[in-house]
Subunit: 404 residues, 2 copies
Amino acid sequence: MRIVQKFGGTSVGSIERIQATAKIIKGELEQGNEIAVVVSAMSGETNRLLHLANNINDNPPMREVDALVATGEQVTAALLAIELDALGVSAYSFSGAQAGFKTEGCHTKARIKDVQGDHLIKHMERGEVPVVTGFQGVDAKGDVTTLGRGGSDTSAVALAIAVKADSCDIYTDVDGIYTTDPRIEPNARKMDSISYEEMLEFASLGAKVLQTRSVELGMRYNMPIHLRSSFDLVEGTRVSKEDSNMERAEISGVAHNRDEAKVTIKGIPDQPGIAAAVFGPVAAADINVDVIVQNISEDGQTDLTFTVPRNDYQATMDLLNTLCTKMNAREVTGDNTVAKISIIGVGMRSHTGVAKKMFDVLAQENINIQMITTSEIKVTVVLEEKYIEVAVRALHQAFNLAQD
Amino acid sequence: MRIVQKFGGTSVGSIERIQATAKIIKGELEQGNEIAVVVSAMSGETNRLLHLANNINDNPPMREVDALVATGEQVTAALLAIELDALGVSAYSFSGAQAGFKTEGCHTKARIKDVQGDHLIKHMERGEVPVVTGFQGVDAKGDVTTLGRGGSDTSAVALAIAVKADSCDIYTDVDGIYTTDPRIEPNARKMDSISYEEMLEFASLGAKVLQTRSVELGMRYNMPIHLRSSFDLVEGTRVSKEDSNMERAEISGVAHNRDEAKVTIKGIPDQPGIAAAVFGPVAAADINVDVIVQNISEDGQTDLTFTVPRNDYQATMDLLNTLCTKMNAREVTGDNTVAKISIIGVGMRSHTGVAKKMFDVLAQENINIQMITTSEIKVTVVLEEKYIEVAVRALHQAFNLAQD
């Protein structure tokens, strides 16, 4: 097998962790695999460098911030190559530029345009390990660029595609994706496999184990991603194309998010352009809107309800109160004690009545549903935050998620 | 004027020093000069990185050591560019690779082969400041290389040549070259100018203010070097081509070195190959031999005396005692309380009797000369260490060095 292994900041956060990581790499090599590695900066290093920059300039030039921050991964890559050498493994570190990561777009949030992996394949075929810096590349001008926070996952998947790897193994501090949060439901089960689409839904619901862009990239090029722990070398969760032959359960997991607030603007004159009039200023204030519900019009008026991150609650309320006057609406109400719960699964495509079953389960627990939104493989409801544990456990049990 | 300014580790050793350095650069720009800058790593950073490497691998691969250590200057260059931006100066950091430093030879002690400075000239002509990492480049394979300790001076002179600068200003923690050590002779005078040849002699005698390679490079391309302090912006010492029109004093300065020991192997059978038989093993033991005197042969035997760094005295004595038996010589003697004093100056070429005057001065002070060696612009004698201050002061006065 040809494998790209990616190690995040905690996996290379100290000399001891770098040594442990080198042993994992050597272990995979000894099983006859060809290996390339992508590393992040040692945990804390990126923040240390950013702090130095912000210390001397409130608004440092982004080109220089990229040049500065990119040294973090370069240090890790060289140290890991040096440790691999100490274990008798031939290893070569490569910066983003050296590895052939061409990017486009602006500094500090560049996008990968192309990766030239042929020279790395030659090393791998000789049993040598290229150790590549994640999170960075070089633009058409030859300037160092970075991909934005979490970009190393995307680097790893892009490299795996470029070197035609069989798998991209992302090592992190969790050992996989669970059917639900084990802190709430002790019977939560680690999933062996999950589809890209499901992973994207889990990620968008706050499962911060994989960067969304990396999953999208994997999906586009059909690169299997193996999410696993660097602290415990058990099988993790494999993210791959949906297997159409397999018998799927109704749903794969239950996700939740407490970081929610709900706002309603009532009695808006119902006329074309009201959504734009409301969401334009909200977007301009850099507030992410999630679930949106517009009531059926009554007496030429309508209500608009939506959720925002709880941190943005007060700013959203202030903004809506201003808009309320301007738009001649009736009133603005809000609630920052709501939460969101979702059931996710590609099985919904073939099983009917999944949404109805969810609503029944919540009704049996006397939990009122405030908002509903659905996608092809997800049903999300907004409810009072205090019911979140009850709802998670009830749904986990009703959909039989503890059994494989 | 087009100027390349080089700032060493102490000049960029903290955020405060980086801020002071940025002010110096801005000051030169405001006088209408075009500026490019070469920086070292923050003082201590290179050692910190090397320590990390040696911590995990007794014999780390040199390619990786270079990749690791090169991040030190990259951090400084980006931070200095960020601080210059805060002062309203457009600045762009460049790694050795980006700046166009091509090197050859082996890792950790590469040599500069070529610098492609055209893109930097364009920045300078627009009033922008390229901030280039010293000490590093890239080899034909695209691997990062470093030039060895003190290599940043050489980077600066090479860059000055590449961008066709009028001067290469090396900022350091001393403000110039003195006629002799001011701690011994309070009347020591800072020299306004000195020739490349003289600078090389001073450097070889332990004036560690400029790397020898940088002076040789400046001499070859006739690039004036201005050695000055970043703590006190007075004129320093300008190192340039010998001005043949100028009336030169007999000598320019008096240098000394206490770090000397003298060893003698007596009664060696005088036959071809004895020097090789002695100095071969000494060189193999990595001991630097300095002054050598071989006595005139007597009764088919000769004596060989030479100086070594004082730290190597015992090792040299042990080695010679072994050789003594093997070569059938009579005995080995040594003295680790000697010192070396030199008078230096291109004026010697036109003034006769300079060496004799030196010997006369020392004789008047009743100082016995143990060894003598001369070059075209230098006379060196070895004497008892306890006389070093007396000798320095007497020579400084006799040659009128206090007056300009």
